[in-house]
Symmetry: C2
Subunit: 373 residues, 2 copies
């Protein structure tokens, strides 16, 4: 492990080689067991690829959510996005899964755009830009196919009036000590970002506050966001609400070496608005498990375990288990070289993006319908 960077996973930073077993231990969450998968399957039919492949791998109280559901009590889904730039494919992963849950459980979705957070965290980001990304990114959310009748998108900045009353009820019960310990805030942190954990808690309780009933909430999100809702879970009973349940996914790696896909490294991220040429170039330059020369690779084979191209097939672009096994064998044996895989992946990504971009343009006509009234 000497040449690996140290693993860092916080809501602000994800870097190094991620050890997911260790994350479950560190964060104190539960692994998604085969038994739980069987239970989910009863409700969803075929198991979603992201569950089959354990992209979603950890949870809090998912079993309890199913208890409630089986007892006839519906839950709301909550996920979100910090709009500090354009959306890349990594962002779509939990959204695609969330849409699957919306369809399978006929659930309302609350989607929070934390444009206040991004403005408060990034020194150079203006409020106008941050809110601009909210509107831009909402097109990607809608393009995923959420039901307009059952989905609301909230901008923290533009829809604060729907959120502030709940936020200050949360904030009253969370001390600086707590957010210092959980998020590593310091005396030099600004007072906006110190308040922000209260904002990220709001959608957990919004449906309950609106309906006057206690409505369970399930949050599909990348595991780095877990600390927010750990704090939320602690104070939920004090407000008379259920603790939000969570289902956690891995990070889709960037096309570079290590870490999650990040908009701050644009050449290692495939944005939803990239042209086919962008996609080809980025994939062509991706980090793989290949050998330095074609001759060596044909002789010794590649290592799919560290290959970003392989990850993309596995988590998003190759549904067939048989074909995945074949791809792995062809790589290890040297039968396929990296260029072969890159070409197949680029075609699939471009096929996917062509459709996404079409839906994204159509979303412009209905985006206002999705924002909370």
């Amino acid at each position: 492990m000497t040449e690996e960077e140290e693993m860092v996973v916080t809501p602000w930073e994800v870097s190094g080689k991620i050890d997911y077993e260790k994350l479950i231990q560190q964060f104190g969450t539960q692994p998604i067991t085969d038994e739980l998968l069987e239970r989910l399957k009863k409700h969803t039919g075929k198991l979603h690829l992201q569950l089959q492949r354990k992209l979603f791998f950890s949870h809090r109280d998912l079993d309890w959510i199913l208890d409630r559901y089986e007892a006839g009590q519906k839950f709301v889904l909550y996920t979100g996005r910090g709009p500090s730039g354009p959306v890349h494919i990594g962002h779509l992963v939990p959204w695609i899964f969330t849409k699957h849950l919306q369809d399978a459980f006929d659930a309302k979705l609350i989607f929070q755009m934390t444009d206040d957070e991004k403005f408060l965290v990034h020194p150079e980001l203006t409020l106008e830009k941050s809110v601009g990304f909210t509107y831009d990114n909402a097109l990607d959310v809608i393009a995923v196919g959420f039901d307009p009748e059952k989905t609301v998108i909230l901008s923290d900045v533009k829809h604060i009036s729907a959120q502030y009353e709940i936020a200050i009820q949360v904030a009253k019960r969370v001390t600086f000590s707590t957010v210092k310990a959980v998020f590593g805030f310091e005396d030099s942190s600004n007072i906006g970002i110190i308040f922000f954990p209260a904002m990220q808690a709001v959608p957990c309780f919004l449906e309950s506050a609106l309906t006057g009933k206690n409505v369970p909430c399930l949050i599909p999100a990348a595991i780095d966001q877990d600390p927010y809702w750990r704090v939320t879970r602690d104070i939920a009973p004090k407000l008379g609400y259920y603790k939000p349940a969570q289902i956690h996914c891995r990070f889709l790696p960037g096309l570079g070496k290590g870490g999650k896909m990040s908009a701050s490294l644009p050449e290692t991220s495939i944005f939803t608005t990239d042209t086919p040429e962008d996609v080809e170039r980025k994939i062509w330059n991706a980090f793989t498990g290949g050998k330095p020369t074609e001759r060596e690779q044909k002789k010794l084979g590649g290592d799919p375990a560290i290959c970003t191209i392989f990850y993309y097939f596995y988590y998003l672009f190759e549904e067939s288990n048989d074909r995945m096994e074949e791809l792995e064998r062809e790589c290890r044996s040297g039968e396929n070289i990296c260029g072969d895989c890159k070409k197949i992946l680029a075609d699939r990504v471009n096929l996917f993006l062509k459709e996404h971009q079409r839906k994204r343009e159509k979303a412009r006509n209905i985006v206002e319908k999705f924002f909370i009234k």
Copy 2:
């Protein structure tokens, strides 16, 4: 001074015997000089009683506000109220003066109800109660006679959408270190109250943000609120706005011994909704400079310098300087005993309250007109 309590003046607590000279030094503000009073008089005509009697005694940049005004640039007024209970006469003092400034300078007034702050600070106060006091207290504000065409009342909770964008722009530039030093926040403080100083800054910049022009702002308020705007003044230039100017008043003492009038000591406060009997009882039990027995007082005289009744005449209920001198002489000589003064004051307070209560009831019909749209 051995029997005096220590002077404590913060936005949360005012107690002990207040030394106003020392406050000017401690807070680093400017005294209102005779020269400045002369300058004000040119615009306001007769000098307002609260300036004559130096109830308003300190300022920041009041001279600069007059420079701007004389150069043809109008300013907005900003004051407010933390609605944690009913309004007492002490609260009306700066409002009455603010109305005078509104009339004299034809100025728009922004009146902020910090119902979020009160909810966040008082463990037992619910959000419903705090917002309820906003609506109740607004009746008292309106009864003071502000121009409905030039006055907006903001509830932080109910009108957050008009304020949040400015608040987070302020918050981004204020660290926990700063609010710790200025307000004495600690690690055990809740994250809502840590954010709150950003909310109290908002009305300083609201008119500028709404009009896209840089509009000077003058804040008449009790001096204990100065720390909020000291922080605001520090960051104003970073946002491209003028620093808010201030004019500070003393605290109207309660009817007990020492400190300001406080709703938490109801028998020492005259509430705007008190009955004539309440007023008589409270004034009858007030702390005065009288002697233990009538015989002693007739012989030795009383001490108006420590008498709360005398304060009330001086700051609110006796406009004539000649009559004030007479009252002082009659007290010191033993010519009048406390009961005489109490009777006169109770009559005047009840006369004032009768009229205030009439206007307060009428305000119910127009209160919605005052709230920001």
